[in-house]
């Protein structure tokens, strides 16, 4: 009962303080929302880059050619051996005959097929898609070690270039998110410090009448929480509008780019923003008010 009364009091006080210092708190909400928005936009862009790289990388198949001595039946069964291996997402078997057909069609006619049908120089082959591009080199090495395989064709360098690019964007993304998170922390901290400074007399009075630090913090924490939550909601709405109505239409014009649909991640962003906003408000308020409590 007592605790409930206090919580009600803190909520009332926090909301009242928010109204009372509305210019400063609105500024804090805007600034924090801007930081959250930039962080969110960057996270989405990095996710899009990753998706694009993954999609392009996935099109980059490994092709293996079986030894000449592998007969038709063994060649088809070899697909099961491949599927049992790690990091193999899918395999497509191309028989010698199909291979020759493709070859002759690519060169412009059936004449080639007809001339080589009886003495087909093409080997049985498999087109392999890996599940994780990071492991492509190991997979290629494993394939090369298999006696049934005569040759492995894989563009490891291309894959590595993709991976490097992805790692760089990831690194820049994480660094930017950390920097923006720190900036956001400073903004909230400054705002709360200013409002707390303006109310240091009030804090002194509360201490004088026997308020514990925990009690005094209550209202300030609520205020910080409100700032954090409002910033999170504001940033969420802005991110949705910015991404869905401005970025995606532009990106969809470039066929090479794959983009993550907002509808598939909206819940992650909403939860992430709300949790981050709340934590920001609470944790930063907690530490900012600390020095005003030493009376």
């Amino acid at each position: 009962m007592k605790k409930r009364g206090n919580i009600r009091y803190f909520l009332k006080e926090g909301a009242a303080n928010f109204r009372l210092h509305r210019i400063m708190t609105t500024a804090a909400v805007m600034m924090l929302a801007a930081c959250f928005l930039v962080i969110g936009t960057f996270v989405m862009i990095v996710a899009d880059i990753n998706k694009t790289i993954d999609d392009v990388g996935m099109q980059n198949e490994i092709v293996i050619f079986l030894q000449d001595y592998v007969d038709d039946a063994s060649a088809e069964d070899f697909g099961y051996t491949l599927m049992d291996m790690e990091n193999i997402a899918s395999v497509t078997f191309v028989s010698r005959d199909e291979g020759l057909k493709d070859f002759s069609q690519n060169l412009g006619g059936d004449e080639i097929y007809d001339s080589y049908a009886d003495d087909n120089p093409i080997r049985h082959s498999y087109h392999i898609i890996v599940s994780d591009l990071n492991g492509v080199e190991d997979t290629v090495n494993m394939l090369r070690a298999m006696p049934q395989i005569a040759r492995v064709r894989a563009s490891i360098e291309t894959v590595n270039t993709f991976l490097k690019f992805r790692n760089v964007t990831m690194f820049i993304g994480v660094a930017l998110v950390i920097i923006l998170a720190l900036i956001a922390a400073v903004i909230v901290s400054n705002t709360i410090r200013l409002t707390t400074f303006a109310r240091r007399e009030e804090i002194a009075i509360m201490k004088m009448v026997g308020a514990t630090n925990r009690f005094i913090r209550g209202a300030f924490l609520v205020e910080g929480g409100i700032i954090g939550l409002l910033s999170a909601l504001f940033a969420y709405v802005l991110l949705f509008v910015l991404y869905q109505f401005l970025l995606v239409p532009e990106m969809s014009l470039i066929t090479l780019i794959s983009y993550v649909s907002f509808s598939s991640v909206w819940h992650l962003f909403l939860i992430g923003y709300l949790v981050a906003g709340m934590l920001y408000g609470l944790v930063i308020s907690f530490f900012t008010i600390k020095k005003f409590l030493r009376v």
């Binding site: 007592k2 009364g5 206090n6 009372l20 509360m206 201490k207 004088m208 026997g210 514990t212």
Partner: protein, 225 residues
């Protein structure tokens, strides 16, 4: 009860605000602490409210030893006393009711208890009809009565008033001192720190005279007794 033995306070290593002060105030007493500016009255108040710690000696207030008192225990000591200041120290944005209620709310009291006690003390100080007003809407005397109500609301054993009449006209001064007298008759120990001779002379109470950080006189009577 206040028990100071050999209490000294030195600031920055060389400014001696109090020099070996011995003072005992029994429960239910009414004591004036008087003296010129710089006598050490404010330092004494700060020691009693645990804002500063004595440099030497032992000090005890309402069962709490003030030497080495933990920060987490200070709120509980302060709840055993009410402090009234010359400048009232009210929160302007809160109503009279909320200002008084704050002192009891911090103890974790429930809403019903808060309502009952606040109504009761506002009646004692004669401000029930102004419970919804905010301090800036009240006169100096009324604001001081709000501060007294706030000091009283936790039914403290001790009330310390620091120059409580400094901002009041003679009529409001008498009214305020009558209120302190009434509170004292209800069993609360009252310590009034002042330098106003008329306030002290009007009441035949114990007077502790402080000068240069030392108690020079401790007797019942007026300012110059």
């Amino acid at each position: 009860m206040i028990q100071l033995t050999g209490v000294s306070k030195t600031y920055n290593g060389y400014i001696k605000a109090l020099r070996s002060v011995d003072l005992t105030v029994e429960d239910g007493e009414f004591v004036f602490i008087i003296g010129p500016s710089g006598a050490g009255k404010s330092t004494l108040l700060k020691i009693l409210t645990a804002e500063v710690e004595p440099t030497a000696g032992t000090a005890e207030v309402n069962g709490y030893s003030l030497v080495g008192l933990k920060a987490s225990d200070k709120p509980y000591l302060r709840r055993t006393m009410g402090v009234v200041f010359q400048d009232f120290r009210l929160i302007d944005k809160k109503t009279v009711y909320e200002n008084v209620a704050l002192a009891i709310r911090v103890t974790g009291a429930g809403n019903r208890e808060i309502r009952e006690k606040v109504d009761s003390v506002l009646k004692i100080v004669g401000l029930s009809h102004k419970a919804k007003r905010k301090p800036p809407e009240l006169s100096g005397g009324e604001q001081q009565r709000v501060a007294i109500a706030r000091a009283l609301v936790n039914s403290p054993k001790l009330i310390i008033a620091d120059e409580p009449t400094g901002n009041l006209d003679p009529e409001r001064t008498k009214e305020t001192m009558r209120l302190f007298n009434q509170i004292n008759r209800m069993g609360t120990t009252v310590v009034v720190i002042t330098h106003e001779k008329s306030v002290v002379n009007d009441m035949a109470k114990r007077v502790v005279y402080l000068e240069n950080g030392c108690i020079l006189r401790d007797a019942t009577g007026g300012y110059n007794q």
